[in-house]
């Protein structure tokens, strides 16, 4: 399968990993080892329960990071971790996956396929556990220190109140890395952790630079009266289900659905499980 070992004494052993405690003695890896890949790294971590909002954020964020020359480091868990890597591969970026289990251990199906793709795409899979070490509750937090150590930036995309990603965030702070969190809707349970990080001043708020201007531009679009009615309602009252929009505007559900779809096509609104919101 082509896994290799690199020891602490090896000259190629990443400098960044020498300073971490507890000490990283050796690293097993799959893929082609090139020191360049570690030059500029950004960790993207988050909840296993990724919402559509999280997905949307990643779709905007990852291509920008890749274009800026960052390798995307993540923990290969399902949800945000895997999505980040998938997107990185799609836009031709570099992906570094750190396993929380042995390099030869069989991962779950989704991760297994992704691992193959990362290796094919010129990325790296790393693990400090040999052979078929199985995942334990303590291997994941241990693995997090490597994720953080390799990266100069750590971005938490989505995290619940007690998410494991918060542990990564704490490590980032301890190791003195730049910590960013993506602000989320205050109603969303998967954004409680990230919002707390921002509120407590631990993390900086992650913003897409041109989001604001893009939005302004979009709203500059000409809307007709009936579209204006819906947009206005959502602007003032916040996210809403179709049933309620229909009741509030007094128009039939079919009519409203049709209007909403056209607004979504123009990129003004988005929908998740029947709840519509302004983008």
């Amino acid at each position: 399968m082509g896994e290799d070992l690199i020891g602490r004494d090896d000259k190629n052993f990443p400098e960044k990993l020498r300073v971490v405690k507890p000490v990283v003695k050796q690293i097993w890896y799959r893929g082609k080892w090139e020191n360049n890949i570690f030059k500029k790294c950004c960790a993207v971590v988050g909840s296993r329960k990724m919402s559509r909002y999280g997905k949307q954020v990643l779709a905007e964020m990852i291509p920008k990071l890749c274009n800026a020359g960052y390798s995307i480091v993540s923990g290969l868990m399902y949800g945000v971790d895997q999505e980040a890597h998938k997107l990185a591969l799609e836009c031709g970026g570099c992906a570094i996956g750190i396993l929380g289990w042995g390099i030869e251990a069989k991962s779950e199906e989704g991760a297994d396929k992704l691992i193959e793709k990362i290796v094919e795409g010129g990325g790296l899979i790393l693990s400090e556990y040999p052979d078929k070490t199985s995942a334990r509750t303590w291997t994941f937090p241990q693995r997090n220190r490597i994720v953080v150590a390799l990266s100069e930036k750590v971005i938490v995309v989505e995290a619940g109140e007690k998410s494991g990603s918060l542990h990564t965030a704490a490590l980032a702070r301890k190791q003195g890395k730049e910590l960013l969190a993506v602000p989320g809707p205050i109603f969303s349970p998967t954004s409680v952790g990230t919002n707390n990080l921002i509120a407590s001043g631990v993390a900086k708020s992650f913003m897409l630079k041109n989001t604001h201007s893009e939005q302004v531009q979009r709203l500059g679009m000409k809307l007709n009266e009936s579209e204006e009615e819906v947009v206005g309602l959502l602007k003032i009252e916040g996210p809403m289900g179709v049933n309620e929009i229909s009741r509030r505007t007094g128009s039939g559900a079919g009519e409203i659905l049709s209007r909403l779809m056209k607004l979504e096509m123009s990129g003004i609104l988005s929908e998740e499980r029947g709840i519509w919101r302004m983008l």
Binding site: F187, A253, L257, R259, R273
Partner: protein, 523 residues
């Protein structure tokens, strides 16, 4: 016995056997022989229920105060190669014995008038309800047999057939008096089908459902175009109630359709006692533990399953992912062909199965995924597994996928006016019927095609011409929402129905826009 001198020893009485949905005339021949050891035999591929009829017939005759002939009795059910089953031969056998022994005077061993006898006997001589009475009436009309004698409890089933005199028989004693000409049984009045259908009251009216505008709209489109519908939402959102109200917006049954449905229920023995007709479209809601045979039909003598019982009506599969996968897969062929053939030892039977599939599901095992108030406790993998329980081919056959919000009680309770302003089923049904008329005119040349949902890709290309502008819009939508080729055609079909509901000839971009919202997005 008055007639001590017996001349005739052979009697012939007509009855009916049911094979699937078809009825076949059966000649019950009874021979009462002076010679030979006293016995009572039944031949002619009779099953257990038929051969047990010996005991019932003997006791029924004795308990009616007649004498059971202590002779060698042989009963033959002709045609002898057709398997017979059920208890409905009791009555013709009893009449045959009475004729052959001379207790009743007939014409040359035939019953006094040409008639079908059909019914089960109790030991006290009472005649009991049995299944398939409607088919007896239908066969009588086809074969021009003017009279049928059937159990009083099921007599109204046959009474809907005009031109056939139906005698409701309470017990053997009444029948003997009637046949002897002592006291006649009052025949049933012919029942008019149409007024009965018009009088039918729906289970739940759409107006009783508060909120759920989107789901109701989807139900309307589904009813209008015959599109299968999947409702996904948390528990308590009102999916089941909506499903129950669904038949009320379907067009009323035509008299022929009503007979077709009644025939299936009559054969299955599922018409309630005293009911003449299925007056409303059937609504079947089988439990998710239902077996394959329960769903499509079967048994050694194949009986109609749930899909045939919902013929011309609605099959509601509540908690779709809880059904076993193999059970769901057997739905695929009948959904295509609208009929199901079952082959068993007793023969091959086809039952019609043209139903509209209505399904509901929770979004995840705990049911609270994306619930505004409660948090979902399911992991992504668990949800993935749950979703995989419904196979792609089944989802493909569902045109409308709708998310059902949980009911926000506080919002609804405040505004009684809104609740009262909900449309009734009758209003919705008017629109549905208009849309169906348009479709019927459209498919006048396509035999067996009545609704937009039945269109294949070929028909979509012919009947759903899109203007260049609309085509561009649809293309943009297909790119944005990543629609597969199949989803693309489904959107057009649904848009066609939406336009039909509006009474518009051309499909426009707002029809497409609405149709896109019902894409396979919620599952």
């Amino acid at each position: 016995m008055e007639n001590a001198i017996v001349k005739l020893m052979l009697a012939r009485v007509k009855s009916v056997a049911t094979v699937g949905l078809e009825a076949v005339e059966v000649m019950v021949e009874v021979d009462v022989a002076e010679k030979g050891f006293p016995a009572f035999d039944i031949v002619g591929l009779a099953d257990k229920a038929v051969s047990e009829s010996r005991a019932r017939v003997r006791k029924a005759i004795e308990n009616t105060g007649m004498e059971f002939p202590d002779k060698r009795i042989t009963v033959n059910l002709a045609p002898a190669n057709l398997p017979k089953e059920g208890s409905n031969y009791d009555l013709p056998i009893a009449v045959g014995i009475l004729l052959a022994s001379g207790a009743i005077e007939g014409r040359d061993g035939l019953s006094p008038t040409e008639a079908y006898y059909y019914g089960e006997l109790g030991l006290d001589g009472s005649v009991k309800h049995c299944r398939g009475v409607l088919l007896v009436g239908m066969l009588a009309r086809a074969k021009k047999v003017c009279e049928v004698y059937v159990p009083i409890e099921a007599a109204s089933e046959a009474a809907v057939i005009p031109g056939v005199t139906v005698y409701p028989v309470r017990n053997l004693e009444d029948l003997i008096r009637h046949l002897r000409g002592d006291k006649f049984i009052e025949p049933m009045k012919t029942l008019e089908i149409l007024p009965m259908i018009e009088d039918a009251v729906p289970l739940i009216d759409m107006a009783e459902i508060t909120g759920q505008e989107v789901a109701k709209r989807a139900a309307e489109i589904s009813a209008a175009g015959g599109h299968n519908l999947l409702l996904v939402g948390p528990p308590g959102a009102g999916k089941t109630m909506l499903a129950k109200a669904f038949p009320s917006i379907l067009p009323p049954l035509l008299p022929e359709e009503s007979l077709e449905v009644t025939r299936i229920y009559s054969v299955a023995g599922m018409l309630p006692t005293g009911t003449a007709l299925m007056r409303t479209r059937p609504f079947r809601s089988p439990h998710h533990t239902t077996s394959m045979v329960g769903l499509i039909g079967g048994g050694s003598n194949p009986m109609p399953g749930e899909i045939s019982l919902s013929h011309l009506g609605v099959l509601f599969l509540d908690e779709l992912p809880e059904f076993s996968r193999s059970v769901l897969e057997v739905l695929r062929q009948p959904m295509e062909d609208q009929t199901v053939s079952i082959t068993r030892a007793m023969g091959k039977v086809s039952y019609p199965a043209s139903f509209l599939l209505l399904a509901s599901a929770n979004p995840c095992p705990c049911g609270y995924l994306n619930h505004p108030l409660k948090e979902c406790v399911c992991g992504e993998r668990l949800i993935g597994k749950y979703r995989a329980r419904i196979s792609g081919p089944i989802l493909d056959r569902i045109d409308l996928h709708v998310w059902v919000d949980p009911v926000e009680v506080n919002k609804l309770a405040l505004d009684d006016k809104e609740i009262n302003s909900c449309e009734t089923s009758l209003v919705v049904r008017e629109r549905v019927m208009k849309a169906r008329e348009r479709q019927q005119r459209r498919f006048v040349k396509n035999k067996g095609m009545y609704t937009n949902a039945q269109m294949g890709n070929k028909q979509v290309k012919i009947y759903c011409k899109l203007s260049e502008e609309v085509k561009q819009f649809l293309k943009a939508a297909a790119t944005k929402y990543d629609l597969s080729a199949r989803a693309y055609f489904k959107v057009i079909k649904v848009a066609r129905t939406i336009a039909d509901l509006e009474g518009v000839q051309d499909i426009m971009s707002n029809h497409i826009a609405e149709a896109v919202q019902y894409r396979e997005n919620v599952w």
